[in-house]
């Protein structure tokens, strides 16, 4: 038994060394997805914190006479400066130095803004309209009949980083598992190492187990690095049952190793196998919401994405890592991923040949 263990360890160490010494693999498995994390987490999230620069020209009674509570909310959204020169202020907006110019002519509140900053334009318009409506209601003396209070379904702190970390992690894991399996299978076949191993007294099971152990180790390191960096640098906050991401990562890895085995079994060369894995995983990442949420996508596309294993990995991880769902929410994604893994592995095994010929 210890004999098989020594073979298992020796193979695992050999595979891990081969991976760590392959700079391109390490880059694409770890560094490349981290670059996306820094990009999305660092650059895009800073945008939703920045205030709208508002230039107030002359007296604007509506704003000047805001009650305390409303004023606070107003100042959360707008950074107010004052000016007397309307033309100069509008020029500032045109050049992008300010976001909006506000003036009042009689009972009319006029906002000059530029459409190039769409997000800020929308915020400006919405906030000011709410302000005007609210004031109108208050002046009418009647209590408002309807009220709308909006509350995000997600935790209040669900900022960009909360969204992108699980999705990008899903993509990173899918990519390194699929590439690793595809490249190993084809590489070992090309180099005839598979045949040499066939001659050694190690079972196919030991060889496969070693490859799986290494890929799982890499995936768990990816998880730690991703969550660690996102938490330390960009304020990621994990919710209660985040630990369920561990089984999700494990089963997701197995599933995408199967995708890689499939690519490795079909393709005739190492490059072919890696390209095929890429061809399968990259579009899947887009369609599974790894890079941006699918909420705005057409319904047929959302239904289609349900057929992709990565979608379920991403959803499962979002649920347990940031949406505050209980551990039970990961069960269905886990089962779906496991089913994908079994089916794809069976398909790969059917297509597999020991030899290139």
């Amino acid at each position: 038994m210890s004999y098989h263990r020594s073979a298992f360890w020796a193979l695992s160490v050999a595979i891990l060394r081969g991976f760590l010494r392959d700079k391109a693999s390490v880059f694409f498995a770890v560094i490349f997805p981290l670059m996306f994390l820094v990009l999305f987490g660092g650059l895009f999230s800073s945008q939703d914190q920045s205030k709208v620069d508002l230039v107030q020209v002359g007296d604007v009674a509506l704003v000047d006479e805001l009650p305390d509570g409303a004023r606070e909310a107003f100042e959360d959204t707008f950074e107010v400066t004052r000016s007397d020169d309307l033309a100069a202020a509008i020029e500032e907006v045109r050049k992008g130095d300010a976001d909006v110019v506000l003036e009042q002519r009689g009972d009319e509140l006029i906002a000059h803004y530029t459409q190039t900053e769409q997000v800020k334009a929308a915020i400006t318009q919405g906030t000011l309209r709410a302000l005007v409506d609210g004031t109108n209601v208050a002046l009418s003396g009647e209590p408002p009949r309807f009220s709308l209070s909006s509350a995000a379904v997600e935790d209040d702190s669900l900022t960009t980083i909360q969204f992108v970390t699980p999705g990008l992690l899903g993509w990173a894991i899918a990519m390194s598992a699929a590439f690793g399996a595809a490249a190993t299978l084809q590489g070992w076949r090309q180099s005839k190492l598979l045949r040499r191993l066939q001659l050694a007294p190690v079972g196919t099971g030991t060889v496969v187990a070693a490859r799986i152990a290494v890929t799982l180790t890499i995936a768990l390191v990816q998880l730690a690095v991703f969550v660690g960096l996102a938490a330390a640098a960009f304020g990621l906050q994990l919710t209660g049952s985040w630990w369920m991401s561990l089984p999700l990562v494990v089963v997701g890895t197995l599933c995408f190793m199967a995708v890689g085995l499939f690519a490795g079994a079909v393709a005739k060369t190492v490059e072919g196998a890696v390209n095929l894995a890429n061809f399968l995983v990259l579009p899947m990442a887009f369609l599974s919401g790894s890079f941006f949420p699918l909420d705005g996508a057409p319904t047929w596309l959302q239904r289609f994405s349900d057929l992709l294993p990565l979608k379920h990995l991403n959803e499962g991880m979002l649920d347990v890592m940031v949406r505050g769902q209980g551990p039970g929410s990961a069960v269905v994604p886990l089962l779906i991923l496991a089913a994908f893994a079994v089916v794809i592995t069976a398909l790969a095994a059917k297509l597999f040949r020991w030899d290139t010929t």
Partner: protein, 300 residues
């Protein structure tokens, strides 16, 4: 006990019969060489015996056990160097042989010893991708022998080696054979087969044409001896008159060649007339046997 017992082995690839009804029996402790032109079926035959390819017909028993299906107990007792070297990517020489050693449950110290025996001590921290062809071949041989197998298969082990490495490998193979290990190798070097092998098999087009000791193969060829006499020592007419000479050939560089089936008489005659200086005698070689059996055309 017999180390290898193969009966009626057949392997076909489409229309091509790569190995055609081959019988082979190798005794324990024997050193057997397989010769044959490119594409003769040597590698295919060996791989069927090793259990790497499944024969389309016939049966093989190795060390008393069936080769199919894969049998871990048997695999631990045989060592194989494949014609194409195959290594784990990006490992150093030392890591490579340690990995193979672990697959056979062998420790690091004996593995390091093998690196010494094949002369790779200076290269232990070189990655396998950076080895020269001959160095890679030596590493591949060391990896095949690391678990001290009872039966060793080597497919053209010396094809990429320099003369030093080749001679050293001969010594190494002889020593493991002397220690009771059975060795089967393929080669294109006739001198190698003659120097090392107890018996050689000559294959062509999937068949074993002969299987015998090198000496009896050469004897069986019954080739005339060729005695070369230095230029100017003998003229054509005198040469033809010597007793026992069947034919006389002229060679511009070397002088006159006397072809004879009775070299003793011819040499005695040359000795009495004091014409032995610079004489060279060539009897049949394994190469002659090989060429007479397989002809001289290129193989596909």
């Amino acid at each position: 006990m017999t180390a290898i017992l193969a009966r009626g082995l057949i392997k076909t690839y489409g229309d091509l019969t790569a190995v055609d009804h081959v019988d082979l029996e190798v005794g324990e402790g024997e050193f057997v060489g397989v010769l044959g032109p490119n594409g003769a079926g040597k590698t295919t035959l060996l791989e069927m015996i090793e259990g790497l390819r499944r024969p389309d017909g016939g049966e093989v028993r190795v060390l008393g056990e069936a080769v199919w299906p894969r049998n871990g107990g048997l695999q631990a007792r045989i060592g194989v160097q494949l014609q194409a070297s195959s290594f784990f990517e990006r490992l150093t020489v030392r890591e490579q042989i340690h990995t193979f050693a672990s697959l056979y449950g062998v420790g690091r110290a004996p593995a390091d010893e093998w690196l010494e025996r094949v002369g790779l001590v200076d290269k232990i921290s070189t990655r396998v991708e950076d080895l020269s062809g001959g160095q890679a071949q030596r590493l591949s041989i060391a990896c095949a022998l690391v678990h001290d197998p009872e039966l060793v298969f080597l497919d053209e082990p010396t094809s990429a080696l320099d003369p030093q490495a080749r001679r050293n490998l001969w010594d190494l193979l002889s020593s493991i054979n002397d220690a009771g290990r059975t060795v089967v190798l393929t080669t294109h070097h006739m001198d190698e087969a003659e120097a090392l092998c107890d018996r050689v098999a000559v294959m062509d087009r999937g068949r074993v044409l002969v299987l015998d000791t090198p000496a009896s193969l050469v004897r069986g060829l019954d080739a005339p001896a060729r005695i070369t006499v230095a230029p100017g020592v003998l003229d054509h007419a005198a040469a033809l008159e010597l007793p026992g000479v069947a034919e006389v050939e002229h060679d511009d560089l070397d002088g006159i060649v006397l072809v004879t089936r009775d070299p003793s008489t011819v040499l005695a005659e040359l000795a009495t007339s004091r014409r032995l200086d610079g004489v060279r005698v060539q009897t049949g070689t394994l190469e002659d046997v090989f060429l007479s059996l397989t002809g001289r055309e290129y193989r596909a």
